[in-house]
C-alpha cells in the first residue's frame, strides 16, 4: 500500500472511531434494550418464587458481581483522566455510566430478594482474590499506565464478567436473566473497545506485549481463584468448576491475548 492509501485508511478508521465512541452511538445502542426496562427488566416479568437456598445462593452471587462492577466503575472513571484522545475519553465516560448502571440494577435485584442494606451486604462479602484484583487494577490506574489499565479493565475484568454472566444466565430465573442479558450487551461493547484500542496500540509498540503477558499471567491467577472460591461457596461440584474458567480463558484469547 502507498503512504497515501495508508493515510486514507487511517483517516477513515479515525472517523469510524469518532462515530462509535460517541454519546450518540452509545445512546442508540442502549436505547434498544433499556427503553421500557426500568432497572434492566421488563416490569411485566413475574417475580420468581425462589426457595430459601436458591435465594441465598443468588444473593451471594450477585454480591460478588457488585464488587466487580464497583471496580469497573472506579477503573473506567479513573482512566478518563489519562486516556490518549477525546474519543477514548468519551467512550470511557459511557462505560462509567454503564458500570454504575450494572451496580444499580444488581443492587435493585438484591433489594427484590429482601436484602435491605445491599451496599453494606456486598462490601462485607467481598472475595479476597477479587479485592486483590481490584487493588491491582487501581494501582495501574493511579500510575496512569494506559496499556496495563486497559488490559486489566477492558480485557481481563470484562472477560471475567462475560464468563460469569454468560454461564449464570443459563440457569438464572427470568428477572435475573433479563437483567444480566442487558449487562452482557454493555460488556461486549467494553470488550470491543479494549480489543480494538489495545490491538492498535500493540501493532505500533510490539515490545509492550511481553510486559502485558506478565501482567496477564498475574491477573489470570486472581480471576481463576475468584471463580474457584465463589463456586466452592455455591457448592458447585468440583467436576463442573473448570467450565467457567475455561470460558474466561477462551474469551481473553479471542480478544487476542492468549498465554
Amino acid at each position: 500500500m502507498s503512504v497515501e492509501t495508508v493515510e486514507i485508511h487511517a483517516r477513515e478508521h479515525d472517523s469510524f472511531l469518532e462515530e462509535v465512541h460517541s454519546f450518540e452511538f452509545w445512546f442508540q445502542s442502549v436505547e434498544g434494550y433499556l427503553a421500557g426496562h426500568p432497572y434492566g427488566v421488563d416490569p411485566s416479568t413475574p417475580i420468581p418464587d425462589l426457595d430459601e437456598e436458591e435465594k441465598a445462593t443468588l444473593i451471594a452471587t450477585l454480591s460478588t458481581y457488585c464488587v466487580g462492577e464497583l471496580a469497573a466503575l472506579d477503573g473506567a472513571g479513573g482512566m478518563i483522566g489519562f486516556a490518549p484522545n477525546r474519543q477514548a475519553k468519551i467512550f470511557l465516560a459511557t462505560q462509567a455510566v454503564d458500570e454504575a448502571r450494572h451496580l444499580e440494577v444488581m443492587l435493585h435485584r438484591l433489594k427484590e430478594l429482601g436484602v435491605t442494606d445491599s451496599q453494606r451486604e456486598f462490601e462485607s462479602r467481598a472475595n479476597r482474590n477479587l479485592l486483590a484484583f481490584r487493588k491491582r487494577l487501581l494501582e495501574f490506574v493511579d500510575a496512569k499506565d494506559w496499556e496495563a489499565s486497559l488490559l486489566a479493565q477492558n480485557v481481563i475484568l470484562e472477560s471475567m464478567e462475560f464468563a460469569a454472566f454468560h454461564s449464570h444466565m443459563k440457569t438464572a430465573d427470568p428477572r435475573t436473566a433479563q437483567m444480566l442479558s442487558g449487562v452482557l450487551k454493555d460488556e461486549r461493547r467494553h470488550m470491543g473497545f479494549g480489543e480494538n484500542d489495545l490491538g492498535r496500540h500493540l501493532a505500533q509498540a510490539p515490545h509492550a506485549r511481553a510486559r502485558l503477558r506478565e501482567i496477564k499471567k498475574e491477573l489470570d491467577a486472581l480471576v481463576l481463584a475468584t471463580f474457584e472460591d465463589s463456586q466452592r461457596e455455591l457448592g458447585t461440584p468440583a467436576s463442573e468448576r473448570p467450565e467457567i474458567g475455561r470460558l474466561y480463558l477462551e474469551t481473553v484469547a479471542r480478544l487476542g491475548f492468549d498465554s
Partner: protein, 295 residues
Amino acid sequence: MSDFLNAYSIQTWLESCPQGYLEDTEYGHAPGQKEPELILENPTLRQESIQSTVQLVVGERAALAASSGLINSAPDYPSKRFLATQTLDEARHVEIFTQRLYDLGVKKDELEDVISQYANPHLVKFAEVLLEKVDKGDFLAGVVGQNIVLEGMAFSVFEMMQASNVELNPKFAKTLSGTIADERRHVGFGENRIGSLLQEHPEKKPEIEQMQKDMTYHMLATFADSFRGNAPAMEETRKIAQEAIPDQKHQVWHGTDLGSADPAELENVLADTVLKEFKTRLGRIGLEYQEPAKP
C-alpha cells in the same frame, strides 16, 4: 445520609435526560438544524463564534476531567453513581461543542491548534486550580470547585448565551438548553453532598475557600477578556447581526437588555449573577465567599 442521592440514580437520569429532553436530538439540537448562513458566511461572526465555542470546549474538558477524576475518591456508591452520570453529561458537552466547531468549519486535524490558539489563558488557569485538587484525590475541595464554582459559572454563562441566541441561532440555543438542564442537576448535587461532609471536616475550610478565591479570580479575568477586552469585535458582530435581522426581539436577562447593553454592562450582569449564586450556594454549605482581587 444518602436518601436525597436516590434522586440521582442512573434510572432517573436515563429517563429524564437521554430518554427525556435529549430524545430525538442529535448533538443536542433537532436533526437537520444548521448554523445560520449569516454566521457561516460572515468571517467576523464566524470567527467570534469559534472563539466563544472554544471557551466552552475548554470548560467542558475541565468538567469531564474533574467529574471522572472524582469517582475514585468518592466515599460512597451513590456519589460515585451520580458522578458517573455527570461524567457522561460532561463528555456529551465536550462532544457537542466540539461538533459545533466542526459545524463552523474547523477541520478535524486543526482542532487542537484552534483550541490552543483561542483558549483564554485565565480559563486554563481556572481549570488547573481545580484539577490540582482532583489529582490529589481531594473529594471535598474537588466537589466544591467543580459542582459549585465551575458549574455555577457554566450555568449562568449558558443561560446568557442561550438568551442571546434564541432569535439569531435557534440551533445553538437548542443545544444550550439541554446543557443548561444538565448543569442544573450538577449544581444541586454539590450542595447536598458537600454540606454534610464539610460539617465532619471543618478543618478543610480555609484551603477550600482559598481555592474558591483563586478560581473566582481567573473566572472574572476570563469575563474581563471576553467582554471589555473584546469590545470592538463584540460591537462589530452585534452591528452585523442587527443589520441582517433588523426586527430582532431584544432579550432581557437579569434586567439587562442583551441587545443594547454595552460590553462592560454585559460583563457586569454576568459577573454579578454568578457571584450572587456563589455566595448563596457557598453559604448553604457553610462556607464564606472569598472575594478575589479585581482583574
